[in-house]
Amino acid sequence: MSRMLSFEIFRYNPNEPKVKPRMQQYSLDETDGMTLFVALNRIREEQDPSLMFDFVCRAAICGSCAMLVNGKPKLACRTLAKDMPNKITLMPLPVFKLVGDLSVDTGTWFRGMNLKTESWIHTERRFDPKACELPMSNEDALKIYEADRCIECGCCIAGCATANIREDFLGAAGLNRIARFMVDPRDERKNADYFEVVGTDEGAFGCVGLMACDDNCPMELPLQMQLSFVRRKMAMHGLGIKR
């Protein structure tokens, strides 16, 4: 006999403002290897086709499906039913604008973050299609890749006390992004260039050190280390220490 799972899912469609936000119950029999991707699609196809949620890759690569699963921000696609109790509560991520039900607008938030941190390589060089690439050590390449693995799912932001209180906080994803460009030898920005964006309460000094970001990151990025790295650089700049 398979287990009956009881789902309690947040429902609200901003396009139907007369219907107030509510929690809705669904029951579903558990199947072998069932993920929340499988479960939510079954609920939609068999019980309630109006239910809104986001999945794209369903392989924990694209970062679309983060939601609060029994209160914790997680990627739904790789959350296995077998690891969950009989009762599963699903809520949309906080901080981000609600699209409907479990679907939130992370895209706009992250584009804003990328703009604010100017998340692209800054260089005076020009691309020469005939020239060989600039040499870089494999170690440096791997270090950049480490920080570049962020999938912008929003788990670190949703679980962050500061981000929940102040709208302009860059959060762990933003600080990690800054760290990614700081370690990139191709980027010609100096610490001073970053200071204005990150050396404030919106950036490295807004963090109150609860470290939920680190706990919640599905990619297991060393967000705590990245924060200290950026903070140290900014503190050194602020204090006028050159190294």
Partner: protein, 604 residues
């Protein structure tokens, strides 16, 4: 319609994956106004999921020594089973190294050559040259004579997409995400933009543009088991086909990737075999060398997938409650290699199957993976049939891949294609004359509104999800790796019936259809998906030969006398089957011959 729902721009790019963004960048750099539409935020595009790498003949690593565009060209043509356009392949191989270096310049952290000795999985020791130290390295991939696939661990698509999008953000290119193009606006000779449905509000919008680019990726989700993202439903191909004048090329050419993980069908990169992984059967015997003594696990994908299916038919598959499967073994690559260069797939094994590939075997089975076919274009990206319409990437039939794409050539195509098509787009826009076709726009908008109203008001009709599932199963069972006339005929009949029924869907989510109702979105897509499914099946039924991934058990040989040609499918109004035409394939450099691996090479 609200006036803010009308948008006017120079270029409308539909799809924000690598191909669409690269083309958009080229047009924006030339000073044109561009709007990119996307079903999802750009960084969630399916390009991001590409793991293994991007082919370019840099020849930096020692196993790539002596590589050149010529060698890359020959591999690509053989891989395509002589189905590709050789002028396109030539242009592509010459530009691929530039594309890799430009992506490096923009920020991709390509893995680098480390000078000195290194021991490979099979025990051979290789020496990387100090002259190439710290230049971009490459790994081995199927169907290639040299190690040519540039990579960033096994997250190559991710780093490419993030870097590409960083340039889109830097240039301030407008992106409207959660916006689905549901019809092209055209007068039978020229394209004027698209009618779209907003997936936040459900409202319709119109985009009027001098040029429109389709870059919506593949149709993998037509199949019940696909490595593809759930958004890959061929929406761009559908709206092109619906014009009645734009042909889709080679829709029967469907790639099955040898290693989808069972049972979630998530991709396990070819890099796993490229880096030295083995395929084992139920007796844990490494069987590929028995069939392919030279290329072993690294023959082209169509060949490896067929060998795997054949081996399972012979009774060597592993039984499971899902599907029969084989094993992928990467244990001998070692913990360090697996946890760095193959980390994302190690995570997939752990998260979805509870398997640690450092110590355990991975259950795999060939799975639908890639659409070689698509919107037929010229070498510059101009779609056939409508002026002002372009297509690029997987949604296009450019035609770089013919009947089988090599691993690592799809990421490369998105970027090289994006450069080439973007250049044409920029030039086209500079010379484009344009008059706002107000009446036409109104007509197309009304057509779509009527279509939506009809679905919403339909009181009793078919269930969209049930019809979709039947389509998925039909393609999987009857239009898969091994095909035969009888199955294909049955598939065509089933799909025709489904197509008619798809025009009579009624929604179960009554009263709640305001906003971005997902059932309505599915109902609007389904007839188009069935049209694509019919192009695939009918094309496969009609092509009485075997070429690349299209394998007919009743016609097992390639037939260059009768079939060295490309299928062109168009859809006339009120028909329930595509009209098929054929064009000859130009052989400009390399005449048809033996691929050097696979059935022909062994005479079986």
């Amino acid at each position: 319609m609200k006036s803010e729902n009308t948008h006017i721009t120079d270029a409308l790019v539909i799809g924000a994956g690598l191909a669409g963004e690269r083309a958009a960048i080229e047009a924006a750099l030339a000073g044109h106004e561009v709007i990119i539409l996307s079903l999802v935020p750009p960084r969630r595009s399916h390009s991001t999921a590409a793991q293994g790498g991007m082919q370019a003949s840099l020849g930096n690593c020692c196993k790539g020594e002596g590589d050149s565009p010529d060698v890359h060209f020959a591999d690509t043509v053989k891989g395509s089973d002589w189905g590709c356009d050789q002028d396109v392949a030539r242009l592509f191989v010459e530009l691929a190294p530039v594309a890799v270096r430009q992506m490096d310049f923009w920020g991709v952290p390509w893995n680098r050559v480390e000078a000195g000795p290194r021991t490979l999985a099979d025990g051979t020791v290789i020496h990387e040259s100090s002259e190439k130290h710290m230049l971009i390295t490459a790994r081995d991939f199927g169907g290639t004579a040299k190690w040519r696939t540039c990579y960033t661990a096994d997250g190559t698509g991710h780093t490419l997409q993030y870097t590409m999008d960083s340039i889109v953000v830097k240039l301030g290119i407008t992106v409207h995400d959660r916006m689905e193009a549901i019809a092209l606006i055209h007068d039978g000779t020229r394209c004027y933009g698209a009618v779209t449905r907003c997936l936040r509000t459900g409202e319709l919008h119109t985009y009027i543009s001098k040029a429109t680019v389709i870059a919506t990726g593949g149709y993998g989700r037509l199949y019940g088991a696909s490595t593809n993202a759930v958004i890959n439903q061929g929406t761009g191909m559908t709206i092109a086909l619906n014009t009645g004048v734009v042909p889709l090329g080679n829709m029967e050419a469907v790639q099955f990737h040898p290693t989808g993980i069972v049972p979630s069908w998530i991709l396990i990169t070819e890099g796993a075999r490229g880096d030295g992984g083995y395929l084992l059967d139920k007796n844990e015997h490494r069987f590929m060398p028995d069939y392919e003594p030279v290329k072993k696990e690294l023959a082209s994908r169509d060949v490896v997938a067929r060998r795997m299916m054949l081996h399972m038919r012979k009774g060597f598959g592993v039984e499971s409650k899902y599907a029969q499967h084989l094993w992928l073994d990467i244990r001998h690559l070692g913990e360090k290699h697996i946890n760095t260069n193959l980390r994302e797939i190690a995570n997939i094994c752990r998260n979805f199957n509870g398997i640690d590939p450092v110590h355990q075997l991975i259950p795999v089975r060939p799975t639908q993976h890639y659409s070689m076919g698509g919107v037929r274009t010229n070498i510059d990206g101009a779609a056939r049939g409508l002026k002002g319409l372009l297509a690029v990437g997987e949604s296009a039939c450019w035609d770089l891949h013919g009947f089988n794409r090599l691993g690592g050539n799809s990421l490369a195509e998105t970027i090289v294609g994006g450069m080439v098509v973007g250049q044409y787009l920029a030039d086209f826009l500079s010379g484009a004359e344009f008059e706002y076709p107000a009446k036409l726009v109104e007509d197309f908008l009304k057509q779509q509104q009527d279509r939506i109203d009809k679905v919403i008001q339909n009181g009793s009709g078919e269930d969209v999800f049930q019809l979709r599932r039947t389509m998925e199963e039909t393609l999987l069972e009857k239009v898969g790796i091994f095909r035969k006339g009888k199955d294909l005929e049955e598939a065509v009949e089933t799909l025709r019936d489904l197509y008619h029924r798809s025009l009579n869907v009624s929604l179960k989510s009554k009263g709640g259809t305001r906003g971005p109702n997902p059932e309505l979105a599915a109902a609007l897509r389904l007839p188009g998906m069935l049209k694509l499914a019919l192009c695939i099946s009918y094309g496969a039924l009609t092509r009485t030969e075997s070429r690349g991934s299209h394998f007919r058990e009743d016609y097992p040989k390639r037939d260059d006398v009768n079939w060295l040609k490309r299928t062109l499918a168009t859809w006339e109004e009120n028909k329930d089957l595509p009209t098929l035409n054929y064009e000859s394939i130009k052989i400009s450099e390399l005449p048809p011959g033996d691929r050097g691996y696979g059935e022909a090479a062994r005479g079986d």
